[in-house]
């Protein structure tokens, strides 16, 4: 019960902040760009030798993923930062923790808020892709399974990044550093992804492997996104529980 109250409190804190508009607008912006991209270049892209044998839905996901694998982690980093920035800005954390509430639950509520917002963003992204395909009148029937797989892999794959950024944002008193670390990590994610061994251990690279395609190892986000997500969450809980608030 205490956890739900804390979570509700977290949602209330974000009521007038920009986390909601960002979460809702980000997939619409990315989807809009993919729509324009395919509206102009559909015939050209379908004619490329590299895209031979791809359905229109696969092509849409390929083109969209090229932006989304950067956009999603960046926005999640910003959301994790904003959730903690509110506390550091107003010194609210020490007020909350001075009350008889469990530190672990406070941390968990913040983590859950970032996870819920990220999941909403990923689900909206799936819907936007669906609408883009319908608006572009693809000749093939809607590939629900493909979009569902894509969204599900992302929800699992993003866990590691959420846990890491929540840990960094909560752990470093200067939240700007947490933000910068996240941005640098995301900007280098494609480098990390060139080595599967390294990509498994780097949360910033997990989202790259969420595109449902036989050439891409989707086990990385499922196995390592989930396990590293849980591991970083656990480390965060232990760390936050011991952290002195003064």
């Amino acid at each position: 019960m205490e956890f739900y109250r804390l979570l509700r409190g977290e949602f209330l804190k974000q009521k007038k902040s920009l986390t909601w508009p960002i979460s809702l607008f980000a997939p619409i912006l990315a989807g809009g760009l993919s729509f324009i991209n395919l509206l102009i270049r559909y015939d050209y892209l379908m004619g490329l030798e590299a895209n031979q044998g791809l359905s229109s839905w696969n092509l849409l996901l390929f083109q969209h993923h090229f932006m989304w694998f950067i956009f999603l982690p960046l926005v999640v980093t910003v959301i994790a930062w904003m959730v903690h920035y509110i506390e550091f800005k107003s010194g609210g954390l020490k007020n909350t923790l001075a009350l008889p509430v469990s530190k672990k639950k406070v941390y968990l509520a913040k983590w859950a808020l970032v996870f819920i917002l990220s999941s909403i963003m990923i689900i909206i992204n799936g819907f936007v892709l669906l609408l883009v395909g319908i608006a572009l009148r693809f000749p093939e029937a809607v590939d629900f399974i493909l979009i569902l797989k894509y969204s599900l892999y992302q929800i699992i794959g993003i866990l590691s990044l959420i846990s890491l950024q929540t840990l960094i944002s909560a752990g470093i008193n200067n939240t700007n550093i947490a933000l910068a670390m996240g941005f640098v990590g995301v900007a280098s994610s494609l480098f990390f992804a060139q080595s599967e061994k390294l990509a498994k251990l780097i949360p910033y690279a997990h989202i790259i492997f969420t595109l449902p395609d036989p050439t891409i190892n989707n086990h990385i986000p499922i196995q390592y996104g989930l396990s590293l997500g849980m591991a970083f969450l656990l480390i965060g809980l232990i760390y936050f529980n011991r952290k002195e608030i003064c």
Binding site: M67, N176, I177, F183, A187, F191
Partner: protein, 244 residues
């Protein structure tokens, strides 16, 4: 004027802005150098210049993603203290010249980005030496291209600075910075690139190496013009700004 400059620098002391602008390019160059090492044969197998390859590998993500995002962070940090708890009203009620405050804050932001570029250049040279590249260092390319990138980034700096001063919430300039960075690579491949300042650093940094980004010198004319235009717009708004 010196006082304002000193105070503004002091405000940034705890923001770790200097650390951010210094470490970020080092990290990108390390990534680029490691990537070059991994695919050394692929990148240099046809007799390509190794320095050029190291430069391209270090620059491609730096210039298209990291630099514009770093500019967003730096410009946001510049106005952080004043935007927190609406401290502008205290600051602007003091007997100081608004013109100087506005100008100095921007100069400091630009200086931090300049440091970022200098660290990038030094890191590439050091990385090349560590890798043991035998060819002579192409100083002209390694110095001029990042400097040209800096000039090409003027409009981004101005737009994000004006947004940081204009909006009290830090997420807005950050959101603008990130949101406009993403389509840059796509727009850079289109004929509309000139209308999109986020493509200018890409053209300036990668123009010589990649045919598609070769767009001539028009950027260096448009870029300062846009800087003056956007900065003047923000400046006028700032001068007319209500204290309360």
């Amino acid at each position: 004027m010196r006082n304002i400059f000193g105070i503004e620098i002091l405000k940034l002391k705890n923001s770790k802005a200097l650390w951010i602008v210094t470490l970020a390019p080092i990290f990108m160059v390390v990534q680029g150098a490691l990537n070059l090492m991994r695919y050394y044969d692929l990148f240099t197998g046809q007799g390509q210049n190794v320095w050029e390859q190291l430069y391209s590998q270090s620059m491609i993500f730096y210039v298209s993603i990291l630099l514009p995002i770093l500019i967003s962070i730096v410009m946001t940090l510049i106005a952080r203290i004043e935007n927190t708890n609406n401290n502008w009203k205290h600051y602007l009620s003091l007997p100081i010249d608004r013109e100087k405050v506005y100008g100095i804050k921007f100069i400091i932001g630009c200086m931090l980005i300049f440091i970022n570029i200098l660290v990038l250049i030094s890191s590439i040279i050091i990385a090349g030496k560590i890798l043991g590249i035998e060819e002579s260092i192409p100083y002209m390319d390694l110095l001029t291209k990042p400097m040209a990138t800096y000039i090409a980034a003027f409009p981004i700096m101005a737009i994000l600075y004006v947004s940081s001063i204009g909006f009290a919430h830090m997420a807005i300039p950050l959101g603008i910075g990130i949101g406009l960075t993403l389509p840059a690579m796509i727009v850079a491949n289109s004929k509309f690139w000139i209308f999109y300042p986020w493509t200018y650093p890409i053209m300036a940094a990668l123009g010589g190496d990649m045919e598609i980004f070769n767009k001539g010198n028009i950027i260096y004319i448009v870029s300062p013009m846009l800087l003056i235009l956007v900065f003047s717009f923000g400046y006028n708004r700032f001068l007319k700004r209500d204290i309360i």
